[in-house]
């Protein structure tokens, strides 16, 4: 490569920008730096660790009207979430048909290998299927039924009572979003359970 091809800013110290961040680490010993790195990684894991992975609200015909992700691995696109929501709607309906005892109102808790799915169905319109709220959380997360009831309360207060909201349509209400974010915070979940 000809010298003239190099960018001007690398003219004298070609690798300086790459080396700079290492300077601080070079001053301490290798062991210390690895420890620091491990500690930093742990802290990041702690931040990443959320009890709740995602939250869905589906209308009575199985259409997704609200979806929020709280840090699950691998992004799902909108089409995937729509498909999952309608699949859940039909699985919920089939589970009622398979009940050995009359009066079944569908799956409340699904325990998968890597997550728990808690589902709450609204009590109105239950003859066919009601609005369903479901949350995907870490296995063994407690008090999710309280959170779901609270989310449903928020839905009735901030969405259904909003005069600009059209029934069965996707939810776009700022106040609902704000209150939901507050509710989902981890300590709040524990608090609601008491």
């Amino acid at each position: 490569m000809k010298r003239s091809n190099l960018p001007i800013k690398y003219g004298k110290y070609p690798y300086l920008p790459l080396k700079l961040p290492c300077l601080a680490l070079e001053t301490c010993s290798f062991r210390q730096t690895t420890n620091a790195r491990v500690r930093l990684k742990k802290r990041k894991d702690l931040i990443k660790m959320a009890a709740i992975y995602s939250l869905y609200i589906i209308n009575k015909s199985g259409g997704l009207i609200f979806y929020k992700d709280y840090g699950s691995a691998g992004r799902m696109d909108t089409n995937d979430t729509l498909r999952l929501a309608s699949l859940w709607h039909s699985m919920h309906a089939i589970s009622q048909q398979l009940s050995p005892i009359p009066g079944c109102s569908g799956i409340e808790l699904l325990q998968a290998d890597t997550f728990d799915l808690n589902c709450f169905q609204s009590l109105t319109d239950i003859v066919i299927a009601g609005t369903k709220v479901f949350v995907v959380s870490e296995p063994g997360t407690l008090h999710m039924e309280y959170l779901l009831k609270y989310v449903y309360e928020l839905y009735t207060d901030y969405v259904l009572k909003n005069p600009f909201y059209e029934m069965e349509m996707p939810i776009r209400c700022e106040l609902f979003d704000i209150n939901l974010t507050q509710a989902v915070q981890k300590d709040r979940v524990a608090l609601l359970g008491r």
């Binding site: 498909r83 699985m91 089939i94 005892i101 079944c104 109102s105 890597t114």
Partner: protein, 169 residues
């Protein structure tokens, strides 16, 4: 047609047994969706005929498995929704609960599915299902008169299973 068993391999009719336990039904499916065994102990509500009921149950499990595999929040690469997966591949589930029953599910590496439907407040039944699978291996697979894929008609298996399920807490 692999997934829904044809009419010529229909499962044996359920034999009603008297028991005071909290188990409702038990299903055993093979990997092609043929119902190898269906037992019921306490089932007041029957909405469908047995064959449709088995198909619906297998369909529910199949779809729930593809749902959990796609929903798995811990893996980044999940593939597309509805792609059939081998046993043990992808995120599966072990139970779900409604207000009237709890369904526990186990799939062996060879694709045998064991489903036990019990009272909703029953605890974790994963070990019990493993034990039932062991019974299946001991009394059915090791029976020289049993041909794989056919409905199970082993007297000894049925009586041992009855005894075990009756003793479940």
């Amino acid at each position: 047609m692999q997934f829904f068993g044809g009419s010529e391999i229909s499962p044996s009719p359920p034999q009603p047994t008297v028991s005071g336990n909290n188990a409702h039904m038990l299903y055993v499916f093979n990997r092609n969706g043929v119902c190898l065994l269906y037992r019921e102990w306490n089932r007041p509500l029957k909405t469908l005929n047995p064959q449709q009921d088995h198909k619906l149950m297998f369909g529910l499990l199949f779809s729930l498995k593809s749902l959990t595999a796609k929903m798995d929040p811990t893996s980044a690469d999940k593939g597309n929704l509805g792609v059939p997966q081998l046993p043990g591949q992808g995120c599966s589930f072990h139970s779900f609960r409604t207000n009237t029953y709890k369904l526990s599910f186990m799939e062996s590496p060879s694709g045998i599915k064991i489903i036990l439907v019990t009272h909703p407040r029953t605890g974790d039944l994963r070990e019990s299902l493993k034990y039932i699978y062991n019974l299946y291996v001991e009394y059915v697979v090791k029976n020289p008169l049993y041909s794989p894929g056919a409905p199970i008609k082993c007297e000894l298996f049925n009586s041992t299973l009855d005894q075990y399920v009756r003793g479940l807490g």
